[in-house]
């Protein structure tokens, strides 16, 4: 590399590090937009429906979004690195039916869970490997993986749902009593996943590297980041997160359903985009993803409670995605 090139690389990197550390340190100003949106939406719905602003309803909404939100956390990691994952829902379902069927056939529940988690993590690793080493576009890789896992799921289950699951598998669907409140366990796990990933992204070198790789891969290379290892680790960790989502789904539906989650990949992208993460990588916030998932859930829930036709909920969600992406584009161009 020539000296001017190296100098330019260092310059770009310096600017990048400042931007990234500033943006990611507090979870950044960027989540203010989605957060305000969430608050305003909630306010609007609480006026329109007397039952919206009740603990029971909110507990409901959290349970309804926990599957997609958890998938979206993995999606956030991947999209921050300028990738995309179309296979997350499929991997989750494959993991869930493997856990379910093994447990029903006599495998001890903890072992079944571990095997399921290992499976989803391994599938994430495969995605990462093909993206990073074979150098194929993430869209293509994960699209292929989606079809592979969907077919595998149907083959493994004989296209029938796995029923009569041992209660040990369903613990993420249960409710525990904390003081006066009955708190569902699943959403607590969802929030824990969000917080752990948030911490990793904002307080560890690995997390900073995720942003750098997504924002400017050349600068990352110049800075000495092992791109291949970084990408593979991102997709692998995402795979593990999808395994947790598999447990959430088992807890909520109490069956291992091979037909589940078919729109979850797009729903997770919706949550990530509404939450302020850029489609082009390098900017974004996993807290924003949580808010994005809640916004989608609240729109659906609120509009149902006031009696608006289901199709308008889908319409409203679609419009908001476009608006959120447009905002991202506008602020990106500003730089």
């Amino acid at each position: 590399m020539s000296r001017p090139q190296a100098a330019r690389g260092r310059e770009a990197l310096r600017g990048l590090r400042d931007r990234v550390s500033g943006a990611s340190r507090f979870g950044g100003i960027p989540i203010l937009g989605p957060l305000a949106g969430l608050v305003l939406l909630s306010a609007a719905f609480s006026v329109l429906s007397p039952v919206f602003l009740t603990p029971a309803n909110f507990s409901q909404v959290f349970q309804q979004v926990m599957e997609v939100c958890t998938l979206a956390v993995g999606q956030t990691l991947i999209m921050l690195a300028a990738g995309i994952d179309l296979s997350n829902g499929g991997i989750m379902v494959f993991g869930s039916v493997v856990m379910a069927k093994m447990a029903v056939q006599g495998t001890p529940v903890p072992l079944a869970i571990l095997i399921g988690l290992a499976l989803t993590t391994a599938l994430g690793l495969v995605n990462g490997f093909v993206v990073a080493r074979v150098r194929l576009p993430p869209f293509i890789v994960t699209l292929g993986m989606l079809n592979i896992v969907y077919a595998s799921t149907l083959l493994y289950t004989g296209e029938a749902a796995v029923q009569n699951l041992p209660p040990g598998l369903l613990f993420l669907g249960t409710t525990i009593t904390l003081g006066h409140a009955r708190v569902p366990v699943g959403p607590l796990v969802m929030i824990a996943v969000v917080m752990i990933v948030w911490y990793a992204l904002t307080h560890t070198a690995w997390g900073r590297h995720v942003y750098v790789v997504g924002d400017n891969i050349e600068a990352a290379r110049v800075a000495g980041i092992n791109i291949t290892r970084q990408l593979i680790s991102i997709y692998t960790i995402a795979g593990f997160i999808y395994g947790i989502a598999a447990l959430l789904v088992l807890g909520r539906t109490t069956v291992g359903d091979p037909q589940a989650g078919q729109t979850d990949n797009l729903d997770s992208i919706t949550a990530v985009v509404i939450g302020g993460t850029s489609l082009f990588g390098g900017r974004g916030n996993v807290l924003g993803t949580l808010i994005g998932a809640l916004i989608v859930g609240i729109i659906r829930n609120g509009l149902t409670l006031i009696g608006v036709d289901a199709l308008w909920q889908t319409f409203a969600t679609g419009v908001i995605v476009v608006v959120a992406a447009a905002v991202d584009q506008a602020t990106r161009r500003r730089r």
């Binding site: 305000a36 309804q64 296209e159 909520r252 539906t253 006031i306 009696g307 308008w312 608006v323």
Partner: protein, 331 residues
């Protein structure tokens, strides 16, 4: 500061869009505070003609009885998660009763139990839950009986030939699919399994039905009887049969009772169509739902009827003529 203004602007646009969507959709309907009974009506998908036929009947019946109907659906055939959420939201909404056509008979049960635990009657329509007694009432065609009629007809119609049977199933594992197929096989005879050469999956889709039939005919050109789970599968199979130049040589039995299927019988494209009566299911679903919401006891099982329509009557097999089919079909 500028970014704050930008975000405020974005939010304003978002809210305007939402308000606009609300206004365009007619705004909030009556809620529980006005004292009207709220009946939830959850179907499998919004686009399947079977459910499209139900909707106006359900809404009219609710209006007639002075109840509010909240209609929702899964996003795709098999979407259990959306239906679970819909039931939970209806519970929050203090619905008086919930009518549901489950996408996954076993998967919907947790939400059903949550509803019945709160004293909300749940009526399963068209498709049973698993276990079937999780609901307050089950209103449907007797799918086994329907299959049986087809089996009886087919056995008589095949007298003098050695049967070579292809089965075009719907979605394996689905109650509806299992009942219809088992009914057909039992109606055909205790030995029917040995005549089956081809057993393929169509998911009740016409395109897949055509593909399945094409593959079956390529593998076994001597097929002379095809059992199909529903009309789209049958019509797809008929197209494949015609393309192979075998129209009229292969008997196709089906069920649903949609006008497309009845017309198919009339045109000789398919041989039988056992009718279901979705409008009756919708009407009874709302009727009994309102009664249950008012605290009355409702029957646990209601058979809305199954009538075999064909141009080729067979001895001792009950049937109705095409004219009956045309008068009562849906879609």
């Amino acid at each position: 500061m500028r970014s704050m203004v930008r975000y405020a602007r974005t939010l304003a646009i978002v809210l305007l869009v939402l308000v606009g969507a609300l206004l365009v959709s007619g705004g909030p309907r009556a809620n529980a505070a006005t004292g009207k009974i709220v009946i939830g009506y959850i179907v499998k998908t919004l686009t399947n003609p079977f459910f499209v036929a139900m909707r106006p009947v359900a809404e009219a019946e609710a209006a007639k009885l002075g109840a509010t109907l909240i209609y929702s659906a899964g996003k795709y055939d098999g979407d259990n998660a959306t239906q679970l959420s819909a039931i939970d939201d209806l519970i929050t909404r203090n619905a008086g009763a919930i009518v549901v056509i489950p996408n996954l008979s076993s998967g919907i049960v947790p939400a059903v139990r949550r509803a019945t635990a709160k004293g909300i009657a749940v009526l399963a329509v068209d498709t049973a839950t698993d276990p079937p007694d999780a609901v307050t009432s089950f209103i449907a065609t007797d799918n086994y009986q329907a299959g049986l009629l087809n089996g009886l007809w087919a056995r008589k119609a095949m007298v003098g030939q050695r049967p070579v049977i292809a089965l075009l199933e719907g979605t394996p594992g689905s109650e509806v699919n299992t009942d219809r197929m088992q009914g057909f096989l039992n109606g055909f005879g205790l030995d029917s399994k040995k005549f089956v050469v081809s057993d393929l999956v169509t998911n009740g889709d016409q395109g897949k039905g055509q593909t399945a039939m094409e593959n079956a005919l390529t593998a076994h050109s001597d097929i002379n009887l095809v059992w199909t789970v529903n009309e789209p599968a049958a019509l797809g199979a008929a197209t494949a049969v015609k393309a192979h130049g075998l129209a009229g040589k292969i008997k196709i039995v089906s069920m649903d009772g949609g006008c497309r299927g009845i017309k198919g019988v009339q045109d000789g494209v398919i041989d039988t169509d056992v009718m279901q009566f979705p409008r009756m299911m919708a009407k009874l679903g709302v009727d009994y739902g309102v009664q249950a919401a008012q605290g009355k006891k409702i029957p646990a099982r209601i058979d809305t009827g199954e009538v075999l329509v064909t141009k080729a009557a067979q001895p001792y097999v009950p049937f109705s003529p095409v004219s009956f089919g045309l008068a009562n079909c849906w879609g």
